[in-house]
Symmetry: C2
Subunit: 214 residues, 2 copies
């Protein structure tokens, strides 16, 4: 379930604050969801709560981490070391541990050999070799749109079955390969859509949401 990571983060915040036990009501509001939904989600992992009391924070953190596969380390390769790729490489806090950036790849010869986030950028031609030697299981694509499909196919053929795609294209991959997409301009467009609805939605655009309040 896609909400487990959110619960985990909320639980870790509680843990840092020294909280030992938490009710579904409190955890739900910290995670921004309905309490019944949270209980149903947690009951899917087995029943780790105590009626009349709540959930033991530490135990639940461990159970969710295990369910998410964070008790092992996942090697990640980033293909495309432009602005975004560099930002990801330098973004130290990949949440709680569980992920290790194992390789940076780029097609530009001028980029190859440079050191980014204390890793040497390697040429994309080495993709297959790097996936094998570093046991990469997650591929992150931050290339231009035109190169994304090619890189994805190479990742898949090299044995990577999990891909995080930042390029603005729909990737074609075989069944069994898991692709998640993050698209900044789509997020902005969705915000604009709702903003326009608020403002009247007639396409005139005279009164924007932000202006109504001033």
């Amino acid at each position: 379930m896609a909400r487990l990571p959110v619960y985990l983060r909320a639980l870790q915040a509680l843990q840092d604050r020294g909280t030992l036990t938490v009710s579904s009501e409190d955890l739900a509001s910290a995670a921004g969801v309905n309490s019944a939904k949270l209980r149903k989600d947690l009951s899917h992992l087995g029943s780790y709560g105590t009626r009349g009391v709540g959930y033991e924070v530490e135990y639940l953190v461990y159970q969710i981490s295990r369910e998410l596969g964070l008790t092992q380390d996942w090697a990640v390769a980033i293909a495309g070391i432009g602005n975004l790729g560099r930002a990801l490489a330098n973004y130290g806090g990949f949440g709680t541990r569980g992920f290790r950036i194992a390789a940076l790849l780029d097609a530009d010869p001028a980029m190859v050999g440079q050191s980014v986030a204390s890793l040497d950028v390697r040429h994309i031609d080495n993709l297959e070799e790097v996936v094998r030697s570093e046991r990469v299981s997650i591929g992150v694509i931050t290339t231009p749109a035109a190169s994304a499909q090619g890189v994805a196919t190479r990742f898949v053929e090299a044995g990577v079955a999990s891909i995080l795609n930042f390029a603005p294209v729909v990737l074609n991959v075989p069944d069994g390969v898991d692709v998640r997409k993050v698209d900044l301009s789509i997020e902005l467009q969705i915000l604009a859509f709702h903003a326009q609805r608020r403002a009247g939605g007639d396409g005139r655009g005279a009164e924007r949401a932000g202006l109504e309040l001033t």
Copy 2:
């Protein structure tokens, strides 16, 4: 509907290739969805297709752009000019036009005054003034987690009702304010979750998805 931006992108690709008309079947496969779903989505905007023929690409592009509010320009402010904020500021291709980066804000005095993507970084204390003078209607938060809620509240009070949040926290905002969240480590955790399922899901972690294929 959150799929309109995807359709729009697919249509623009067709347009660039000189295609004049497209069937729901073809457009659906380009966008990676079921054709019935696509037809139902499009029928929500009114009936812009011709039975026996398909949809006229140019007309549909215009209709979707209008529905999404892309016929007007939205001013965007980015708060937090770290690696990610810089990457976003420099990411020229904010899809098709419709968005203009109007201001960059940061709390670090050493950052203020620097030029990023040919914009001067301004101090976060100027947030309210900048929102007013630039008519900002979308706020992007790329600050550290600890500062995100404060920045969000200031955006909202300044009249910004659309927020794109990259900080790993759940933001608390009043009703009527639209928050979308992009969280890199959550995306990775979801991938890890599915990868573990594929690999057996027993938490041993001996055989990873990537290794099964080698």
